[in-house]
């Protein structure tokens, strides 16, 4: 089986003054490095091959050779414009994997990417996803399920038990990537890299927009003077609101609440 690792070729050098990335300062993020290391560790205890993939121009092959020198078995470069949509990149990456047992990705790239490629990969492969992992415990049996901890918003953590095929994205702090041996470094510079020309368009996703309540029609304030009209709008001493006390069964009360919210314009 194949364990796929997706790494992103990015510029390390901070502000980029030129439109063309300077290949001397390019590499892959610590998160991507951690993803590669986890994949290599699993492959060491199994007969899986590690397939490393990246999307970008010829210069991106440097990160693939780096990955090969550290132990990856095979490398594929998707020849694609780096500004392409995440869904297009994900679809092309998936096209280059043949039913992978796992897909490992970094949780972030150094170029402030959206981090959405792993999700698109999971959607396209129709397998589970566990994103933003901050800790993992790999079992000796590479095929057994394993525990992981996922980062949630607000500093919360979620404990997961991962089994079967999944897309996993990890933070850079989870593990340090091994250093390549000299012999591997030398042989990786000559190893073949498969190049696949990108195809296809955007992945279909439902159109989403922020929630906006529909406008409510309100009567003009009443009063002969401006002060009275302002008081009519702002006065809190008397109730002008929708306060109403009803006695009803829970289901009827819920229906009533929804109807009221709809009537007042809070629900579409």
């Amino acid at each position: 089986m194949t364990i796929a690792v997706c790494i992103k070729w990015v510029n390390y050098s901070g502000p980029v003054e030129s439109d063309t990335p300077d290949e001397r300062f390019a590499g892959f993020s610590f998160a991507d490095q951690a993803a590669l290391e986890w994949a290599l560790r699993i492959a060491e205890n199994s007969s899986d091959e590690v397939l490393v993939l990246t999307a970008g121009p010829v210069g991106a092959e440097a990160v693939l050779r780096d990955a090969l020198s550290r132990g990856a078995h095979r490398a594929v470069r998707i020849d694609i414009d780096l500004t392409s949509d995440s869904s297009v990149i994900a679809r092309n990456l998936v096209g280059a994997m043949s039913q992978p047992r796992m897909v490992w990705c970094g949780d972030y790239s150094n170029d402030r990417g959206s981090g959405s490629v792993p999700s698109f990969i999971a959607a396209d492969l129709n397998i589970d996803q566990a994103l933003g992992l901050v800790a993992l415990e790999l079992p000796e049996n590479a095929n057994a399920s394993f525990a992981a901890v996922r980062r949630l918003d607000g500093g919360r953590r979620e404990q997961l038990l991962i089994s079967g095929s999944a897309v996993l994205s990890v933070e850079g702090s989870t593990v340090r990537l091994r250093r390549a041996s000299l012999k591997n470094t030398m042989s990786a510079s000559k190893q073949e890299i498969q190049v696949i020309t990108a195809t296809g368009g955007r992945m279909d996703t439902p159109a989403l927009r922020p929630y906006r309540p529909r406008p409510r029609v309100t009567l003009a304030p009443i009063g002969l003077t401006a002060l009275e009209r302002v008081k009519h709008i702002t006065d809190t001493s008397s109730s002008k609101g929708h306060g109403e006390t009803v006695h009803a069964e829970p289901s009827a009360a819920a229906t009533l609440i929804l109807e009221s919210l709809r009537k007042w314009g809070y629900l579409p």
């Binding site: 001397r24 250093r179 390549a180 041996s181 000299l182 012999k183 591997n184 470094t185 030398m186 510079s189």
Partner: protein, 433 residues
């Protein structure tokens, strides 16, 4: 069988030229660089004279990443408030076959290393060579590196690992290390628009200027420099290591002082520091050179102290490139002869002796110490600028004084004995040939 025929340590100008020469002769060459890419750790303080590349890379000037071609060469003598500038301009230097150029070393060195790769060498970056491997008879037969499984064997190792070469020291080729033989080069790269640089320095297009400075180093023996890149200028100082240490001064303070000098301030005004760098320089020439050949080992470039710091001539990259090229050729010839003993590799030093590499150093062997001597450094700038100041100052109604009288008075004022002046003049004449 060895892993490679030749291992070149260091992908600076010397290493890359060694790799090019060796790879072109059909040898299996591995070029090892400790930085993430060639040139990432390198700096220099002046001009590259790349004509030596004619032999190695025909039409190099069409592809080399040059910033500006130097058409103005100035030597400036600074006293506390005055400056004497001797300036020569030749627009012919801005056309092929060119003379000197300014370049960013991360660009130039990387370009040169890519020529080695194109010639067939394997470039391995981010790898530090930690030591030499020796066979049963004590001959060098490879290197160890900081990578796992990091030993690499070869018939010949060419050490181009720069100033303070650990490999040359490990091989016992540097008998002693004397701080008096080294200077510290410190440089600020200042961002200025090309338009401003062109106006301030009187150049156009890709014409450049190189200004070498005597004085202006806050009392620490050394010198200064300014040179132009396309949209930056480099200003820096070269400071004798032992004096810098003894005087407990900070190099960045000395550069700041130089930038405040009335003759320098208008040139650097408004420049934003975009880079600050420092590097040791092997300054003493022939007097500090190590033995450059051992069984299975050659030393080239700054590692062999092949840097010419002789007052009006300040060159290093061309000596590095030439020595590297000759080292590559000699190593290749020795392998062809199936004999990589020191005796066989001696053809390397023979080549250096027959060419400018060692002939210039021999001719100018006394100059580096003369230029950095206390008298030249601390008394002559005041003496020279004092003489010029009085020659061109019009004190009417007082009549003009005689030049001989001015020289005599200013010499005494600067505290230089006549015998010292004569001795220095003779040493200079003899040294400069």
């Amino acid at each position: 069988m060895t892993d490679a025929d030749i291992i070149v340590v260091g992908a600076g100008p010397a290493g890359s030229c060694a790799a090019i020469a060796a790879a072109r002769s059909g040898k299996r060459v591995v070029l090892i660089e400790r930085g993430p890419f060639p040139g990432s750790k390198n700096m220099y303080g002046g001009v590259i004279y790349p004509r030596i590349l004619d032999e190695l890379i025909p039409h190099w000037f069409e592809t080399a990443p040059i910033q500006r071609w130097v058409v103005r060469r100035s030597t400036m003598v600074l006293s506390d408030t005055g400056a004497l500038n001797i300036d020569y301009r030749s627009n012919a230097w801005g056309q092929a076959p060119y003379n000197g150029a300014t370049a960013y070393r991360p660009d130039f060195d990387n370009w040169l290393a890519q020529q080695a790769v194109a010639a067939g060498a394997d470039l391995i970056c981010s790898t530090t060579v930690t030591g030499l491997l020796r066979d049963d008879q004590g001959r060098v037969c490879g290197v160890s590196t900081d990578r796992p499984d990091g030993d690499l064997t070869a018939s010949v190792v060419i050490a181009c690992d720069g100033v303070n070469s650990f490999l040359a020291k490990q091989a016992g080729l540097y008998p002693t290390a004397d701080a008096d033989n080294y200077t510290l080069g410190v440089k600020e790269t200042l961002s200025l628009s090309k338009h401003i640089i062109d106006e301030r320095f009187g150049v156009r297009d890709n014409q450049g200027v190189d200004i070498e400075i005597l004085g202006g180093t806050s009392g620490v023996n050394g010198g200064g420099f300014i040179y132009t890149n396309l949209d930056t200028i480099a200003v820096g100082v070269v400071l004798k290591l032992s004096k810098l240490s003894a005087q407990k001064k900070r190099p960045e303070d000395i550069i700041a002082e130089l930038k405040r000098h009335p003759a320098i301030a208008p040139l650097v005004e408004g420049g934003q520091v975009v880079e600050y760098s420092a590097h040791l320089i092997p300054e003493a020439g022939l007097e500090m050179m190590p033995k450059m050949v051992a069984d299975g080992l050659l030393i080239a470039g700054d590692a062999a102290a092949l840097c010419l710091a002789a007052g009006i001539w300040l060159e290093g990259v061309n000596f590095a490139m030439a020595s590297g090229m000759y080292a590559g050729q000699s190593a290749s010839a020795a392998i062809n002869a199936n004999n990589v003993s020191a005796n066989s590799l001696k053809s390397y030093t023979d080549r250096l002796n027959k060419t400018f590499v060692l002939q210039d150093h021999k001719k100018l062997r006394k100059i580096p110490h003369l230029v950095l001597s206390d008298r030249i450094q601390h008394k002559y700038p005041a003496f020279v600028t004092g003489v010029v100041e009085r020659m061109f100052r019009v004190d009417n109604p007082t009549p003009k004084p005689g030049v001989r009288r001015i020289v005599s008075q200013e010499r005494k004022k600067a505290g230089i004995k006549l015998s010292e002046l004569v001795r220095d003049a003779l040493t200079g004449l003899k040294g400069f040939g």
